[in-house]
C-alpha cells in the first residue's frame, strides 16, 4: 500500500500545479491587456503570448501526467484488490461457498472493485483539491475582513452537519445498491446455469420477474440516491451564493459606513465565487466517495472472513508412503466426528466412529441426506468437523498441510465440474506436468479411452461449459481419470459412477488395483454390483453409523440394510418373472 500512497501524493501535487497554472493564466492575460495594449509597453505582447503558450503546453503535460497517474493508481488498486479477493475466495472452505451465492461474490470482485477504481481514479484527488481550495479561500477572506468572514463561516456548522448527514444516508443507500447488484448477478448466474430447467418448464416468465424485481430494486435505490443528491448537491452549491446575499446586505452597510472599502467587498465576492465550483463538485464527489466506501466495506467483508480451513501454524506434511506397493494405502480413522452447518441446526453427522484399514475398500451406504458425502468430504478437509477428529495414518488432518493431505486424497464427485479447457488440461488438472501418455493411461483406467476417440480433436478438444458437450457418464469418467492421474493414496468415489452403466463400472472398479496399487478406496454406492466389490459396507442413517460389516453379513443379519437393498432388487425380480413366463 505504500507505493500507492506515494503515487496518490504525486498525483495530488500535480493537481495543485495544474490549479496554480490555471489561476496564473488570467494574470498573464491581464498583463497583456494592461501593459501591452493599454500602456503599449513595447515587446510585452510577444513575450507574454509566448509565456502563455509555454504555460498551456506545461498544463497539457502536467494535466496528462496527473490523469494518467491517478487513472493507473485506480486500476492498480482494482487489480490488486481483485487478485486478493480471488486468492482469498479460493482458500475459503466449501461450507462458505455452499452458503454464499456465487453471484454476490462475483459482484464484489467486479462491480464493487470497479466503484473503488472510479473513486480513486477520478474522485479522490479532486476531493482533496476541492477541500484545499476551500481552505485557501477561507484564509484569504479572513485576511481581507475577519468580520465578513465570520458571517460566511456562520454557514459552516450547518454545512458540516448537512454534509455528514448526507454522507451517512448516501452510504446506506449505496450499500443497498451494491447489494442489489449482487442479487441481480445471482439471478443472472442461476438463470444461465439452470437454463435447461427454465426451458423445460417454460418458466422464462418466472425468471424474468425475479430479474425485474432485482432491477427495480436497483432502480428504486438509485432514485433514492438521486433524491438525496438532488437535495444536498444544489444546497452545497448555493451556500456561497447565500453568503453572498448576506455579504451584500451586511457588507453593503459596512461599506456605506466606510468600515470597509469597496475594493474589499468586491474581492470578497470573487473569493466567495471561487468556492462555488468546489462546493458544487463536493456533492458529486461525496456520492462517488460513499459508493466507494460501501463497496470497500463489501470487499473487505469477504477479505476479513477468515478461512475456517487453512494450514495451522506448525502443520506438518503427511509422511511419504513406505517403499513398495503395499505401503501406499493409508489408514483413515474417524473419532467421535460431528458436523453441522450452523449452531443448533440439524447436525449432518453425529458421533461417527470409524476405522478404515490401509488399502481396504469400504462402501458407504445410506438414505438420502444421511450424510455420506459430508463424511467423505471431511477426509481431504473440504469440510471441517464441528467436533471430533479425522485421522489419516494417525495424523489429525487438521494438523497436516493442505498440500500434502489433498495430494494424497483423490475425490470424484457425483456431479463433477469440468473447466472450459482442453480434455488434456482437465485430466491433468491435479498434475499439469503429466505427459500425454500418462493422461491417456489415466483415461484408460477410467474406461474413458473411447471418450477421447469420439471427440473431434481428441485430447485437444475443449470441454466444459463452453466446450464440447459430454454426457453425464462421460463427465464422470473424465473426472475419475483426473483423480487417478494424481496417484492418490485414498480414492473417494462419491457416487461418482452413477451415470456410468453397470458393465463399465464393474470394469473400472476391477481395474483400480492396477491403476492405484494398494490405495484405500472409499465409495458411496447404491448398486449391488458396486457393494459386492467392497470388503466392508458402512450403513449410515441420519448422520450416524448404524451398522458395518461385509455385504454378505449385513445382507444376512441387518434388517435396515436389507430394507435398503430390498427395493433395489424388486424390479429385477419382476423382470425375471416376466422373462420366465
Amino acid at each position: 500500500m505504500r507505493p500507492f500512497w506515494r503515487r496518490v501524493t504525486v498525483a495530488f501535487l500535480l493537481g495543485v500545479t495544474m490549479l496554480a497554472i490555471t489561476s496564473f493564466i488570467p494574470l498573464v492575460t491581464r498583463t497583456i491587456i494592461d501593459d501591452g495594449l493599454t500602456r503599449r509597453v513595447p515587446g510585452v505582447l510577444g513575450r507574454e503570448i509566448a509565456l502563455l503558450m509555454v504555460l498551456a503546453v506545461v498544463r497539457w503535460v502536467v494535466g496528462g501526467l496527473r490523469r494518467n497517474l491517478s487513472g493507473r493508481v485506480g486500476t492498480d488498486v482494482e487489480y490488486d484488490l481483485r487478485n486478493r479477493l480471488a486468492r482469498h475466495l479460493l482458500t475459503l472452505e466449501a461450507a462458505y461457498h455452499d452458503r454464499v451465492p456465487t453471484g454476490q461474490l462475483l459482484a464484489r470482485a467486479t462491480s464493487d472493485v470497479r466503484s473503488l477504481r472510479y473513486f480513486i481514479s477520478w474522485g479522490m484527488v479532486f476531493l482533496v483539491l476541492n477541500l484545499l481550495t476551500f481552505a485557501i479561500a477561507a484564509v484569504q477572506m479572513w485576511l481581507l475582513s475577519p468580520r465578513l468572514c465570520l458571517v460566511v463561516l456562520a454557514l459552516a456548522p450547518p454545512l458540516v452537519y448537512g454534509a455528514l448527514r448526507f454522507n451517512r444516508r448516501l452510504h446506506r443507500v449505496y450499500w443497498q445498491v451494491q447489494q442489489e447488484i449482487g442479487e441481480l448477478t445471482t439471478v443472472v448466474e442461476e438463470a444461465t446455469a439452470g437454463v435447461r430447467v427454465v426451458k423445460a418448464f417454460g418458466r422464462e416468465q418466472v425468471q424474468t420477474r425475479r430479474l425485474e424485481t432485482e432491477a427495480s430494486s436497483i432502480l428504486d435505490q438509485n432514485l433514492e440516491a438521486a433524491r438525496l443528491r438532488a437535495f444536498y448537491t444544489p444546497l452545497l452549491a448555493i451556500l456561497p451564493q447565500l453568503s453572498l446575499a448576506a455579504i451584500l446586505w451586511y457588507g453593503g452597510r459596512l461599506a456605506i459606513d466606510g468600515q470597509i472599502t469597496l475594493g474589499t467587498l468586491v474581492a470578497f465576492n470573487s473569493y466567495l465565487l471561487l468556492l462555488a465550483w468546489p462546493l458544487q463538485g463536493l456533492g458529486m464527489l461525496f456520492g462517488f466517495a460513499q459508493r466507494a466506501a460501501a463497496s470497500a466495506e463489501r470487499v473487505f467483508e469477504v477479505l476479513d472472513q477468515p478461512p475456517a480451513i487453512a494450514d495451522r501454524p506448525g502443520a506438518t506434511a503427511l509422511p511419504a508412503p513406505a517403499e513398495g506397493p503395499a505401503g501406499r494405502g493409508v489408514r483413515i480413522t474417524f473419532e467421535d466426528v460431528s458436523f453441522g452447518y450452523e449452531e443448533g441446526a440439524r447436525p449432518v453427522l453425529a458421533g461417527i466412529d470409524l476405522d478404515i484399514a490401509p488399502g481396504s475398500r469400504v462402501a458407504v451406504v445410506g438414505g438420502t441426506g444421511s450424510g455420506k458425502s459430508t463424511l467423505l468430504g471431511l477426509i481431504p478437509r473440504l469440510y471441517a468437523p464441528s467436533r471430533g477428529r479425522v485421522l489419516v495414518d494417525g495424523h489429525d488432518v487438521a494438523n497436516l498441510t493442505l498440500d500434502s493431505l489433498r495430494a494424497a486424497v483423490g475425490i470424484v464427485h457425483q456431479e463433477p465440474v469440468l473447466f472450459s479447457a482442453s480434455l488434456r488440461d482437465n485430466v491433468a488438472f491435479g498434475r499439469p506436468q503429466a505427459t500425454d501418455e500418462e493422461v491417456l493411461d489415466a483415461l484408460a483406467a477410467a474406461a474413458a479411452r473411447e471418450v477421447v476417440e469420439a471427440l473431434p480433436e481428441g485430447l485437444d478438444t475443449v470441454v466444459g461449459e463452453q466446450g464440447y458437450t459430454l454426457s453425464g457418464g462421460q463427465r464422470q469418467r473424465v473426472a475419475l481419470a483426473r483423480a487417478l492421474l494424481m496417484q492418490p493414496r485414498v480414492l473417494i468415489l462419491d457416487d461418482a459412477l452413477s451415470h456410468v452403466d453397470v458393465d463399465t463400472e464393474a470394469a473400472i472398479l476391477a481395474g483400480l488395483d492396477s491403476a492405484l496399487g494398494s490405495a484405500t478406496v472409499l465409495l458411496v454406492a447404491n448398486r449391488r454390483a458396486s457393494l459386492r466389490l467392497a470388503e466392508r459396507v458402512v450403513l449410515l442413517d441420519r448422520g450416524r453409523v448404524v451398522a458395518q460389516g461385509s455385504h454378505e453379513d449385513l445382507a444376512a443379519h441387518e434388517p435396515a440394510y436389507r430394507a435398503v437393498l430390498a427395493h433395489a432388487g424388486g424390479g429385477v425380480d419382476r423382470l425375471v418373472e416376466e422373462a420366465a413366463s
Binding site: P101, S420, E457, Q466, V572
Partner: protein, 619 residues
Amino acid sequence: MSRPTPRARGAMGRGAMGRGPASSVQTYGAPPEVERSSRDRRAGRRARAWLWPLVRPHRRLVGLASAAVLVQTGASLAMPYLVKVAIDRGIVPRDLSVINRVALAYLVLVGVQFLAGRFEIETVARAGQRVLYAVRTKLFRHLQTLSLDFYERERTGRLVARMTADIDAMSDLVTDGLVTMVTGLITMVGVAIILVVMDWRLALATLVVAPLIGLAARVWRRWSADAYRRVRETHSVVTVQLQESLSGVRAIQSFRRERATAARLEEANHDERVAHWRTIGLASFFFPGIEFLGTAATVVVLGVGGQRVLSGDLEIGVLAAFLLYLRNLFDPVQQLSELYDSFQSATAGAERVGAVLAEQPSVREAPDPVPLPDPRGDVRLEDVCFAYDQGPQVLHDVDLRVDAGTTLALIGPTGAGKSTVAKLIARFYDPLAGRITLDGIDLRQIRLADLRQAMGYVPQEGFLFSGTVLDNIRFGRPSATRAEVEAAARAVGADQVITGLPDGYDTQVGERGALLAAGERQLVAFARAWIADPALLILDEATSNLDAASEARITDALQRLRSGRTTIIIAHRLTTIAQADQIAVVEDGRVVEAGPPDELLAGGGRFASLYSRWLAGAA
C-alpha cells in the same frame, strides 16, 4: 469445433494490442472469437438503433432537465449583474433600500437556482435509471428466449458481464451525459453567435482551432474505440474465469490448484488492467490536449486582436469581453470531450449488449403456431438426425413411437445419444433432418407455451434454484398452493425427506441446492415435475442419483404417474427399466433394438445380453 484455449486467446489478444484499428479484429483471438467480434461490430452500428426506442419515451424528461440547466445558467449569469447594481446604485450613492432590495432579489435567484438544480438532478436520474432498467430487463428477457445452443456457446460469466458491467458502462452516459450534451451544445451555439456578432473577423480567427479540435476528435474516436472494446472484452474474460473458478472451487481445492487458478485469474486481470491503461493513456493525452487547444485559441485572439488594438482597429473592451466569452465557449467543449470518454465506454458496452440482442433463438415459435391445449402425449420420431452446432452427427435416422400413456426406456452405453433423444423430444433443439411429432403435430408447429405445458423434464443434475424447497417445487406450477405443493411431495414420496429438513418446506436449499444432499435435490426435482402435471414426462438418468430406498419410493410414484401420462426414461438401472412398456437400445446414435422388455429378452439380442450381465452383477 476448434475452440481456442483461454490461455491462447489471452496471449493472442495481447500480441495484437496497439497495432491499431487495421488489425483490431485479431484483438479477440482465434476464429470463433473473430466471428463474434465482427458480429459485435456490425451490431455496434445498430447499437443506437436498439437503444433509441428505450431512450425515446424519456426525451421529454431530458428536455425538462436541460431547461432546468439553462435556468440555472441564467440565474448565475444574472448574479454578477445584481452585484454591479448594488455597487453602482446602492453603495456608491449610499442608498440602503437598494441594497436591501438587491439582497432580497439575490436570495430569490439563489432559491431558483436551488430548485432548478434539484429538479435537474432528480429528472436526469429518473430518465437515466429508467433507461438502464429497460435495457437490463430487455436484455434478460431476450436471453430467456434464446435456445440451448446459444447457452452451450456462451459462458455464464460472459452473460453475467453483459448484464452487469456492460450495462453499468452505459449508465454514466444515460444519467449525466445526455443533459451535459444538450446544454453544452446550446451554450456553444449561443456563445458562437455572440462572438460572431461582436466581431466576426476575430471570431474567424478563433475558428482556426476548430479543425484541430475536429481532427483530435476523429483520431480519438478511431484510436479509442478499439481500446474501449478491449476493456469490455478483457473484463468479460475476467468475469468468466472468476465465475468458473467460484463454481468449481471444490475441485480446485481438492486438486490443490488454488495458486495455479489464482495465477490464471491474475493474468486475465492483468490483461484488463493493461486495456484500462491504454484508455487512460489516450484520455490523458487527448483531454488535456483539448484544454490546450482552448488556451491556444485565447492566444490567437490575443495575438490577432492585440495587433489590431495596437493599430487602433479594435477597442480593448471588445477584446476583453471576447476573451471572457471564449472561456464560455471552451468550457462546454472541455465538458463534451470528457463526456466522450464515457460515451466511448458506453458504446462499447452497448455494442456487446446489442450483439446479444441480435442473436436469434434457433428454436423459434412457428409464425402460425398450432395450439395444443389438451395434449394426449402421443410421441413419434421419424428419421431424426441431429448434430450439435456443426459437430459430427450424433443421431442417425432415429425412429421411435411412444403411444399416449405408455413408458419408453432408453438404454445404452454412455455417450450413445440417449440424452440427445430426450432433449430433442423436449424441443431444446430442432432435428437436423426428420421430424418429431406430439399428437401427430410436428413439434416445430406447436405453440411453445403449450408444448412446455405439456412436458415435464427432470435433467440429470436435478438443478435447484436458491430459495426454499417450497419455491422450488412451485417452480413447476407458480400458481400452486402450499397444500398442493405438499400433495405433490407426498405423491413422489419426498414428503418424509422434506419434513425431516430443519425448516421443512421452508428450508433454504442454497445455490444449486448445495445445502441438500444429492438424493434430496433429486426428490425435490421430482416433486417439481409432478406438480407441473405434464402429459409427457422425460426423466434423464434422474433415478441414478437416488439411494435404493428413495428410488423405491419414486418407482412406486412413477407407477401411479404413468397412468394417463407418456413417460420417457433414460436409466441404467433395471428397477426403472423393468417398469417400461417399451425399451429402445441406443448405440452410436442409432436405435439398434426396440420393443417390450419380455420380447427383447426372448429375442436374445443386445438387451438380453446386457440384461444377463446385469443380473449377474446384481445378484
